[in-house]
């Protein structure tokens, strides 16, 4: 038998799958693990979404954003935003000094909510990689 013939025969032998009596059980185990992975992922995403939503809504409600937006203080808000922008540009040019920024609790909570969402996304990716 030539080398080529033997290698062709070997390819054929490798291509023939062996018979396993528990082939169906194996397939079900894989399906179960797939379902479990998807359930966990949905759970993570759902929990993170709820947490971020609750944080965001509570902060918006607590800040009375809608009322203030309609009132006389709208101008003050604009001024505050302008002040924040000025501080940010100054910070960018002179070095970041967080204490000097006009950041209040709402901004921090919103940042935390975004952080939770980012963490949920990271966990989802890690779960996928695992």
């Amino acid at each position: 038998m030539s080398d080529l013939e033997f290698e062709t025969r070997l390819d054929r032998m490798f291509a023939e799958p062996p018979h396993f009596a528990d082939a169906e059980l194996f397939a079900r185990q894989v399906e179960t693990r797939l379902e479990r992975g998807w359930s966990l992922r949905r759970l993570f995403i759902g929990a993170a979404g709820i947490a971020a939503g609750v944080l965001g809504v509570s902060q918006i409600m607590g800040a009375g954003l809608f009322l203030r937006a309609a009132g006389d203080r709208a101008g003050q808000q604009v001024q505050a935003l302008e002040g924040a922008w000025t501080s940010l540009t100054n910070a960018a040019s002179t070095g970041v000094n967080l204490g000097a920024l006009p950041v209040n609790g709402e901004v921090l909570w919103m940042t935390a909510a975004l952080g939770v969402m980012a963490l949920a996304f990271a966990i989802t990716r890690v779960t996928q990689e695992l």
Binding site: F6, L10, F26, V30, E31, L34
Partner: protein, 191 residues
């Protein structure tokens, strides 16, 4: 979601496309079709039954995550076999290192070929050293080129080639039908 009965008649590429859209039943059908081939390859590579099954499951889960990468250029079986083979090599490399010192293993198995004239591939693979078995399995079972196998094993190309060569020589000896070792002995006896 596709009904379980309707996926059985679909081609692998169609099932892969459905799987890429999140259809886990379609992927389950792919596992049913190719699970045994992947498990068999891992056992031929040298994995114990339990480890082979665990790694085969991991390979299919990995394949599901990366199913969008499968573009139907080769067969799905070959693609998932490559994933499984690489997973096994990664596991194997944790425990041992590819070395040139295979001669001791070679000597331990070499004499068996003369006592058996015809055995199947699974048995024949057991006569190979660990490194030879890996290299032959990667190249002929998982369809990797010598260069790809060398990269997967993180071993020099020449080393992989020599392992494949020696492995093939042993397999040829053990798998040869009538003209195997017994046949050669018979021929020598006639002469």
């Amino acid at each position: 979601m596709t009904q379980s009965g309707s996926v059985a008649g679909l081609h692998d590429v169609e099932l892969a496309a459905l799987s890429a859209a999140g259809d886990r039943r379609a992927f389950g059908e792919l596992v049913r079709r190719h699970g045994s081939a992947v498990r068999g390859l891992l056992r031929r590579m040298g994995a114990q039954a339990a480890l082979a099954d665990d790694l085969a499951q991991d390979a299919f889960l990995t394949a599901f995550e990366r199913i969008a990468d499968f573009r139907g250029e080769g067969t799905f079986a070959a693609w998932v076999k490559r994933i499984a083979a690489r997973l096994y090599v990664r596991r194997w490399r944790k425990d041992s290192r590819m070395t040139e010192e295979v001669e001791t293993n070679d000597q331990g198995h070499g004499g068996e070929a003369s006592t058996v004239s015809r055995i199947d591939l699974d048995e024949a693979m057991k006569s190979l050293s660990e490194q030879e078995r890996l290299c032959v399995s990667l190249c002929y079972g998982a369809g990797l080129s010598h260069a790809e196998a060398a990269e997967t094993l993180n071993a020099p190309l020449g080393t992989v080639k020599s392992h494949v060569k020696r492995g093939l020589d042993k397999l040829r000896l053990r798998l040869a039908p009538a003209e195997g070792p017994r046949g050669e002995a018979e021929r020598q006896g006639h002469v």
